[in-house]
């Protein structure tokens, strides 16, 4: 990406994207939409957390909430939703408004939590997430309470309904790829570098004259936008949204995805979401139906025990010996993704 020859990482990304684009030809429709498609959309929400955690050092539990804001705003606005609260706003207008609302909610969470770190940040974002969940569950006028808003079918793309397996898959894949590229780009901009500076030593960044608080809030805003894209796609996938989709369970699931995949690089979010989706779908076939959550939990524990930096860490350790031999200098400087594991920061 930095002029001249493309880096091996960029080549690998393009190859992976091409492989994923051809994937639906090889696998049954169920796998296309409900394993890979689902993993992409939840992966986007998870990536918004990975972005904050990896490059800013902020572990936030409010990402599902930001996605939920986008989902609810779209559900309230679009035509044919049940119940129709505002309705009649075409998707072309409703989607930008929803993303704007999600970005605003990200900025708000960032502003509220601007002076907190570590466990306190975790608690304040958790409180906001649970608060929003309970508010949505109790509010009838705008959120239709416990039952939520149904029949949010998504826009038509080239005359095809959004819930068509391939439309959904490619929309999810395209959004995931664009947002992934966006994150990789942003962390190389001056803004992204200051963010990483804040992660490593906020006081020094302030001494250099940067407004650390403003950068933090902006990072939460960007994370809100990313989570909002994911939340919208999740809402279309689920044909609607209800408080259950933004409750404590889904909130923790997003964190679990990030940890399984590995905080350290945005791709970890998608790896984690894929592993999570596979187990969530098939654990009941492998293990006793009454107790399959035990298996999901055991796999999570195993991954975290064996590799505290998730599947990514496992992969990195597996290829490290190969890489060591042919490493030749300057390329290493451009890659910001070797940041210290989160645990080492305190």
């Amino acid at each position: 990406m930095s002029g001249g020859r493309p880096s091996p990482a960029a080549l690998a990304s393009v190859a992976l994207l091409a492989a994923l684009a051809l994937l639906p030809l090889l696998i049954p429709p169920f796998w296309t939409a409900n394993i890979f498609g689902r993993a992409f959309v939840y992966g986007i929400v998870a990536m918004s957390l990975t972005f904050l955690a990896t490059y800013g050092g902020f572990v936030s539990l409010a990402q599902t909430m930001m996605g939920g804001v986008a989902g609810y705003v779209a559900a309230v606005l679009v035509p044919d939703s049940v119940p129709s609260l505002v309705g009649g706003v075409p998707y072309a207008a409703a989607i930008p408004v929803a993303l704007l609302a999600a970005t605003a909610s990200g900025l708000l969470v960032g502003a509220v939590a601007v002076r907190t770190q570590g466990i306190y940040l975790l608690m304040i974002t958790l409180a906001l997430a649970v608060g929003f969940h309970l508010f949505a569950q109790a509010n009838i006028a705008w959120f239709n309470g416990y039952e939520g808003i149904r029949n949010v079918v998504g826009p038509e793309v080239f005359g095809l309904p959004f819930r068509n397996t391939f439309v959904f898959y490619y929309a999810a894949l395209g959004s995931a790829a664009l947002l992934y590229a966006l994150v990789l780009y942003v962390v190389r901009t001056p803004f992204g570098l200051v963010l990483q500076g804040i992660r490593d030593n906020p006081r020094r960044v302030s001494a250099l004259g940067y407004d650390a608080a403003l950068h933090r809030i902006a990072a939460f805003g960007l994370a809100g936008f990313i989570a909002g894209c994911g939340g919208l796609l999740v809402t279309f996938y689920n044909i609607g949204i209800s408080p259950g989709s933004i409750g404590l369970g889904p909130t923790v699931n997003v964190l679990v995805m990030c940890v399984i995949g590995g905080l350290g690089h945005p791709i970890g979010a998608f790896v984690g979401a894929l592993v999570f989706t596979l187990f969530d779908t098939f654990a009941a076939d492998i293990y006793d139906r009454d107790r399959f959550n035990t298996l999901v939990g055991a796999v999570f524990l195993l991954i975290v025990l064996v590799s505290p930096d998730g599947v990514l860490g496992l992969a990195k350790r597996a290829v490290a010996p190969l890489r060591g031999r042919r490493r030749v200098g300057p390329a290493a400087g451009a890659a910001p993704n070797t940041g210290a594991p989160l645990a080492a920061e305190e």
Partner: protein, 426 residues
């Protein structure tokens, strides 16, 4: 990758073979030898886990009775579990239909899940969803889906008869209604108020959020003029309210929603038992009912499940799932196991069924494929040394709009905190 290519080749081969078999031969013999694949979906996790387990128990008992066969075909069951959340139920149903390739799904258990699956069923051409035990009225009342069937009655229907009983038999003019602040209690309150206010009654409504533990402020707000209390709480909320009301020395006659007079409440110890004796409630079933088919059902349930974690008497969810699967088996018999032609014949058979459920109540479906059946008035009495609900009255053939013309009922709007259904007769 290799594995996937194999998998795909295999699938292609299988679908190809199936296509030639159905298109070329059109021989029912071939189709009849393949098993019918039935997907069971209930909540084995989360707040309604015990209800979901009981649903599976009752359906298993029924299949055992039928030797796992219907219409000359073997029945194969694929079980899935959700946690009472709409999106989880949807993901599981998608897996059942698209990955496990079941022919039909029986489920889900709770309200929001039912609405999500109703929406999903529209996209499932050639498959059928038969509701398990979810009771939101909108699932079938508004935006009904052509391949979603419900053989159980909903939360509004379950209150039929109670309003008239309070106003006419007990001659109470004013009541206080205490209810949880979410969809199911709204529906129950709506069903009660519609009858009670039409008969000239007046009501004060006191809603409290799900999970309330301290009801003292609610108890203090019960008006002095109220002649009876209608309590539409369930689970721990109901227990907490009853205990505190008993300790506060409350002595108004009590009436309950359909999940109030429930074995989980009756088997708990505490002061609430004293005031709950004699409480009247309404619902589709009771512990004690003088009907041979019900006595036989309860006896069969107890001998099969009492030592394997079952309840003293089948739960409402067990009863609903059992009825749903009864309907499926009957319709399969009628079409002799023939599910070809996008299940059109099978679905027509389902829609046309008329039978008596195990409570001895006549049951048929309306134009929205929603059950019309009898609702019972129950009283809590001491039987066999424990508190049980006993039927003493019956409202025959209750439909989804409680006898109000459908257009008029729909015009009242969906039940909510601000729409309690309390409109005087015009």
């Amino acid at each position: 990758m290799d594995l996937r290519i194999h998998r795909r080749a295999l699938l292609l081969g299988a679908t190809g073979a199936a296509a030639t078999a159905t298109a070329g031969l059109k021989a029912p013999a071939v189709a009849q030898n393949a098993p019918v694949r039935l997907g069971w979906l209930a909540t084995l996790e989360g707040p309604f886990a015990t209800g979901g387990q009981d649903g599976f128990r009752c359906m298993q008992m029924l299949l055992e009775q039928h030797n796992n066969q219907a219409g000359g075909r073997r029945i194969e069951v694929v079980r899935e579990s959700s946690n009472a959340q709409a999106d989880v139920a949807l993901a599981r149903a998608r897996k059942l239909a698209e990955q496990d390739r079941v022919d039909m799904i029986i489920g889900p258990l709770s309200g929001a899940e039912g609405i999500a699956l109703r929406d999903y069923s529209r996209t499932l051409a050639g498959k059928t969803i038969v509701n398990g035990s979810s009771g939101a009225s909108d699932t079938t009342l508004r935006n009904a889906s052509p391949n979603f069937f419900r053989f159980s009655t909903d939360g509004v229907q379950w209150m039929a008869g109670l309003g008239n009983h309070v106003r006419r038999t007990m001659n109470v003019e004013e009541v206080a209604v205490l209810a949880g602040d979410y969809a199911f209690p709204y529906a129950q309150v709506f069903g009660f108020s519609l009858e009670f206010c039409r008969a000239g009654g007046r009501a004060t409504y006191l809603f409290s959020p799900l999970g309330t533990t301290d009801f003292s402020s609610i108890i203090a707000r019960i008006p002095r003029s109220a002649g009876a209390l209608v309590v539409v709480h369930g689970g721990t909320d109901g227990l907490a309210f009853m205990t505190q009301y008993a300790q506060a020395g409350g002595n108004l006659p009590l009436l309950g929603g359909s999940v109030m007079a429930d074995q989980t409440m009756l088997s708990a110890r505490g002061p609430h038992r004293r005031i709950m004796m004699g409480m009247v409630s309404a619902g589709p079933l009771a512990d004690v009912h003088e009907e041979p088919s019900w006595k036989e059902f309860v006896a069969r349930y107890r001998s099969r499940w009492l030592n394997e974690g079952g309840f003293q008497s089948p739960s409402i969810h067990g009863f609903n799932y059992y009825t749903a699967q009864q309907a499926v088996l009957m319709a399969l018999e009628q079409v002799r196991g023939d599910l070809s032609g996008d299940q059109k014949a099978f679905q027509a058979a389902l829609a046309g069924l008329r039978f008596k459920n195990v409570m001895g109540a006549d049951l048929h479906l309306d134009h929205n494929r929603q059950a019309v059946s009898d609702i019972f008035l129950n009283r809590i009495e001491e039987r066999d040394g424990r508190a049980q609900t006993v039927t003493f009255g019956r409202t025959p053939q209750v439909n989804q709009t409680l006898g109000v013309p459908e257009a008029q009922f729909l015009a009242l709007g969906a039940p909510s905190r601000d729409n309690t259904g309390c409109v005087a007769a015009s």
